[in-house]
Symmetry: C2
Subunit: 352 residues, 2 copies
Amino acid sequence: MYNAKAFSAASATSPLASTQIARRDPTDTDVQIEIVFCGICHSDLHQVRNEWSGVMPTVYPCVPGHEIVGRVTKVGSGVKKFKVGDIAAVGCMVDSDGTCPNCKEGLEQFCPNLTLTYNFPDKHTGGVTYGGYSDSIVVDQRFVLKVPSNLDLAGAAPLLCAGITTFSPLHHWGVTKGKKVGIVGLGGLGHMGVKFAHALGAHVVLFTTSPGKKDDALRLGADEVVISKNADEMAKHAGSFDFILDAVSADHDINALLGLLRRDGNLTLVGAPEKPFPVSAFNLIFARRSLSGSLIGGIAETQEMLDFCGKHNITADVEVIPIQKVNEAYERLLKADVKYRFSIDMASLKGA
Amino acid sequence: MYNAKAFSAASATSPLASTQIARRDPTDTDVQIEIVFCGICHSDLHQVRNEWSGVMPTVYPCVPGHEIVGRVTKVGSGVKKFKVGDIAAVGCMVDSDGTCPNCKEGLEQFCPNLTLTYNFPDKHTGGVTYGGYSDSIVVDQRFVLKVPSNLDLAGAAPLLCAGITTFSPLHHWGVTKGKKVGIVGLGGLGHMGVKFAHALGAHVVLFTTSPGKKDDALRLGADEVVISKNADEMAKHAGSFDFILDAVSADHDINALLGLLRRDGNLTLVGAPEKPFPVSAFNLIFARRSLSGSLIGGIAETQEMLDFCGKHNITADVEVIPIQKVNEAYERLLKADVKYRFSIDMASLKGA
């Protein structure tokens, strides 16, 4: 074991503050990474404030962060894929059983014995896992990704959650050139959805409630922007979408969106409204539409996404902050006051 | 034009009664059929009582019936597929444009210019189409199906709506041997779902709120019966179903059913709850499940379904009634007091 610097919350109402945590020494199959950037995901805020107490109560101190990029500083003797100095990344998962049907199909995110990157029982330390708001992390090589060398690291960090969460459903539901694709919401997830759908060759329509986001959406790759509260604008697109990726977690009218799908079209939710939302059966039946959910993505697919980003030079639009501004960033996150992801420059932790 | 005997409703509150209607003389591409049996679908009742006034207001007199089997009595000069004396069938549709993408893919049920079998503008007569509660019908050959000779005709009639409505989604979602399939509700649709899923080789679980239906479900082909109000019984099946066909139109807990699907599992609605129902996004996201709807089936698939029924000797379980009991049958239908479909013996119309 060794000590790592980190930012942690001591309770649901405490601000994040500088601390030291124990990390394991790398085992034969581990990769030790010096963290260079860590994105801020809304999940971090939910976990730190114990807003998921019903399903995933927070163990304090809590070190969040699962959008991690950095440099490899040590590898175990059994590690072949990585060497010291490589740029590597870690996302939402750090372990799984490797033997269940989900793992065997490369869909570790559905493994019943999954270990999430933070606030999950850590079989090595006996405590809980600590995430990426830290100067280093030690992760089994199976859960470490390679980052294409052309990518800006600050913007690459959010690919590990916001990126794969949006890439996976676009991929799974067959978005390609010639398809008409809707992206609902232009936030951390939505802006990645627009970039990916555009790079995949689709005709991309961004749905937003904010007219002010139109120019930015077009710049990011949208072909059209629809103000979703404008019924006339919505009606023009009735029955025309092959696929809609809904990245909004606030309550909104999902039936109005379902009606925009063509026959056999699919709407996938990646933002999860907290309360059950009403669905009209007729919207599904009269065009054989489907409504789905999607959860991050498997490790192989995450690597595929990163390679795709390398090829198309895609990163998240980020605002880089020092770790000392993380509490302020959380408050801004609640107001959606960021374009479109905060990325923490972990060099700032050295002085913390 | 010629006169046909029929049973029609004169208003939303009138009982069905004997009448005469005008049918067109067969054109070159038409098939004239002497109707032998016509099933009673719940849609008939909705239409007769104008319960769909918002979307499909009823034009009176209304002659319902879209589960039609009979004998060919005349064919047009251009008809090659049928000859006088053949056993033929007609379902929910009698025409479509034949040129739209849906028609070209054999999915006429989604054609924007579809003509339904009753209460739809009739381009031949200038009035509305009249359904199968009649001694004869004239239909374009494209919408006439062949009935395998081994099938009991009274039980074959409901295949044309209840049959195809349940067969199509089982088929579309890839139900085969080795799959675990749930059927929700043991009524006109559900009992066909059980028979088809069983014949397709699936492990079939029937969900019902009525313990009294257990023996019948097992007889029809279910491997297990789950009382859906029993949370313990439901919990035993969590995350285990490949596919669930939901044939219940009354309000019920669709989230509880979604939770029974395994990863990538699908629940398809064929019964449509009138009001929007609540869906929990988490139920979809955490196992990449999907929720869909399905609407009858195309003509090619309907023929495939009938051929499948011929091969497996599948018909609906019916209670045969004379047309004079149709109003009484409607009242019993409202109480689900039929096992599992009424089939009208049209010979009874001769004396009406």
